[in-house]
């Protein structure tokens, strides 16, 4: 049997088992695990414990970053810090809509940018920001769309963009030079989304909205909120300024230090074990996804399915690839979540690199499009989470429709960044 037939059979088995598992209403993570195990057996490797465990190890460090960053954000929320910021902003700028919208965009971008997860943005800031937006008279469906789109952008925003990190790692490319290529489109698209969807709307009862916002505990102040961020940024700056005089700390420990600072400064007592345990519970779908994606990729690599997808992708007509990026990326994200990065992203970046495009800018462009898949079935984790958190009760179709304009903007920005990546190479600063 030739390699193509063999790999196609294994791929077929994997797809079949994935679809079967989904039909049985199993979660995406477990479906991916089942597909991987079935592929391993179909490929003639049996149930290889070594390969499954090795694949599961792939994103251990990224999982640690996830856990510590989310722990930091959760402590900040539990201590009343986020409520303090939202309330403060709303009180000060409730009559200056433009400024408030800019600040809300930035606020929504921060949690996801730091953790790499849009769901963290939704959980940490989504509820409060939607309260403010509703207070400003923005309809519920548009509020939900804003939270979802900006949360997606926050996940793509630097410093942690998992799509970019995972794809870069897959092609041995340094995760360096991504800051501005990711930051600029995220900011632009985020602001456009906020203003397009949130500009219109007669302010409802501002005072009532203010009342609805959670009240921060007494003793909370700006210093207590800023200091943990100072610790985090300070560790990054120190590490970058004196890399050879200081000890290697790594991102998880940096986030842990920030989390502990926030914990110590909190005006109200918190149960650290309980918050940590809740954090793990909250993150289980994401940790599970990353672990199962690692297993899936390992088995795809083992059986040559990754090679089949890669060689098929890199030999496609380039115009076709450019023209279908806006479909391929969100759909791959909807099916595989972050698995889309190593499975689809890696061959695409190989193709762009061999074509002489700038792989960093191209990958940043792709990273802007990927999050759109988080609203699409079968997974739609973040889309559904947003609908829950913002309290939107209309149809899911209406929610998707509300997301359409900003989604098209993101698709256009992302595709243009890929096509003109060479000309935009200066953004990398390399």
């Amino acid at each position: 049997m030739d390699m193509t037939t063999y790999a196609l059979i294994v791929l077929g088995v994997m797809v079949l088992f994935y679809a079967g598992a989904k039909l049985l209403k199993l979660s995406t993570e477990i479906s991916m695990f089942i597909a991987a195990a079935a592929g391993c057996v179909a490929g003639g490797f049996g149930f290889s414990a070594r390969h499954i465990a090795e694949g599961a190890m792939t994103y251990l460090d990224i999982n640690l970053i996830f856990i510590t960053a989310t722990l930091f954000m959760n402590i900040l929320k539990e201590s009343g810090g986020v409520a303090f910021v939202v309330r403060g902003m709303f009180r000060r700028f409730r009559r200056q809509r433009a400024i408030l919208l800019v600040l809300l965009t930035i606020l929504l971008l921060i949690p996801g940018a730091l953790t790499g997860a849009g769901s963290v943005t939704v959980l940490i800031a989504g509820g409060m920001v939607s309260t403010v937006l509703l207070g400003l008279g923005v309809p519920k469906v548009k509020t939900a769309a804003i939270v979802f789109i900006v949360a997606g952008l926050s996940a793509a925003a630097p410093p942690i963009s998992l799509w970019a990190m995972m794809t870069a790692a897959g092609v041995n490319m340094p995760y360096v030079g991504f800051f501005w290529p990711l930051m600029l489109p995220c900011l632009v698209a985020g602001l456009l989304t906020m203003f397009i969807l949130g500009w219109r709307g007669a302010p409802a009862d501002l005072e009532r909205a203010l009342e609805e916002l959670p009240v921060p505990p007494a003793g909370m102040n700006w210093l207590k909120i800023i200091l943990p961020f100072v610790v985090f940024l300070g560790l990054i700056v120190v590490g970058r300024t004196w890399p050879h005089e200081t000890v290697v700390t790594g991102l998880p420990l940096m986030f842990l230090c920030a989390a502990l600072t926030s914990y110590v400064l909190s005006p109200q007592k918190m149960d650290l074990f309980q918050i940590s345990q809740k954090t793990i519970e909250q993150l289980l779908p994401l940790l599970g996804t990353l672990t199962c994606v690692g297993i899936l990729v390992q088995i795809m690599t083992l059986t040559g399915v990754r090679g089949l997808l890669a060689v098929t992708t890199v030999t496609l007509p380039v115009a076709l690839v450019f023209a279908t990026l806006f479909i391929i990326l969100p759909v791959s994200e909807a099916v595989l979540m972050w698995g889309a990065a190593p499975v689809i992203g890696v061959p695409l970046i190989l193709l762009f690199n061999t074509m002489g495009l700038n792989p960093i800018v191209a990958l940043a462009g792709m990273s802007i499009i990927w999050p759109l898949g988080d609203a699409l079935p079968p997974t739609a984790i973040i889309g559904r989470l947003t609908v829950d958190v913002t309290g939107y009760q209309g149809s899911y179709g209406q929610f998707l429709k509300a997301c359409l304009i900003p989604a098209v903007i993101m698709m256009i920005i992302g595709t243009l960044m890929v096509v003109y990546s060479k000309q935009l190479g200066f953004l990398t600063g390399l």
């Binding site: 030739d2 390699m3 193509t4 063999y6 790999a7 490929g43 414990a49 070594r50 390969h51 499954i52 465990a53 090795e54 694949g55 190890m57 792939t58 251990l60 460090d61 870069a168 790692a169 897959g170 092609v171 041995n172 490319m173 340094p174 995760y175 360096v176 030079g177 990054i236 590490g239 970058r240 890399p243 050879h244 290697v248 700390t249 790594g250 991102l251 998880p252 420990l253 940096m254 690692g294 990729v297 390992q298 088995i299 690599t301 083992l302 059986t303 040559g304 990754r306 090679g307 089949l308 890669a310 060689v311 890199v314 030999t315 190593p342 890696v346 061959p347 190989l350 061999t354």
Partner: protein
Amino acid sequence: MKASIRKLGFSIAGLVLLVVSGLSFYESRHLKEPVVLSDGVTQVMKLSKYFPDIEGTANDCNIYVLEGKEPGATLCILGGTHPEEPAGRLAAWLFAENGVMMKGRLIVVLSANRSATTVTRVGGAYPPDFIIPSPWGGQTFRLGDRWSNPLDQWPDPEVYIHYPSGQYLAYLDSRNLNRCWPGRPNGTLTEKTAYAFLEMIKKEKVDVVIDLHEAELQYPVISTIVTHEKGQELAAVVSMTLTDLEGFKMGLEFSPKNLHGLSHREIGDYSDAISLLFEAPEPFLDATRGKTTTDQLLTGKDEFVVKAGKHGLLFEKIDEKGWPIDVRVGRHTSAILQTMASWTEVHPERPLLCDNVPRYAEVIEKGIGKFLQDPAHGKPGRVLFE
């Protein structure tokens, strides 16, 4: 009750997976690779001799010295900088098990980043080891990875900043020996390893250092010598002679001055030695490869990589014959022997001449296994382990 039995069942299944995989990882980390010393090996040292901080770490590797019958220059071969490129290690192995220096001195390193030999790449689906068949059965080698084992160096930095240039590199590359030159004494394990080697190069007054590598066919720097400015003429002659006489093409590339951490740049800059890096083709590393197996690793045959080649996406030719390990190892042994010959042409007063190591054609004809020695028949005290 039912739920707790279910939970127990799942937990036991998880435990079995953990134990079975854990045992496999443990075994490959501790697999012993015998080295039967050639009669030409006059001394075996530890790297820690040059930098005691390395002592007791995974990277305190063996250094094999082959003192010549007549004096001459000193050449050092670094195998195993990237253990997942096995032709580099195997070529060095042939020198350690067969080489006899007639003139000059040879220093051979088989596992420059020994830590990286003890782990395979997550997500890469590598086999843990591979067997080179030999007339006496065969020898098993650890496959290894490109980066040091996280069990020996953890955590990775937020971004890796190269010492002393300050160049930003991927965080993973803080565990890549070929991004850590010239190293630093108070750095990470990988940086300390590079520092220790540089100390050795200086103290032993090494004239030429050759770092042996392999590359994926989609990588532009392939089937070539990368040379520091100091070695340009030597490399040009070696490249031309090999292409003319041995039937394989060997290109030439300059070591970029603004790309830091690589052996061909930093060894040349921070010591008196000429630094060269040899690249052979290894389709096993290509992201478009098919099934990831030991067979693919050793034969270099791959339908998908051939398909990528037909679309003009590769920098080296490949057909259904693939790139067998014998061909890749033979390229390295010939290139090293030719470097000695070309060096001697220019420096007749400080010659280098090694005997008993097969060149390209002979390695292909007889296979590497023919030149691997049987540890069961090694003389007492002449069998060591990597």
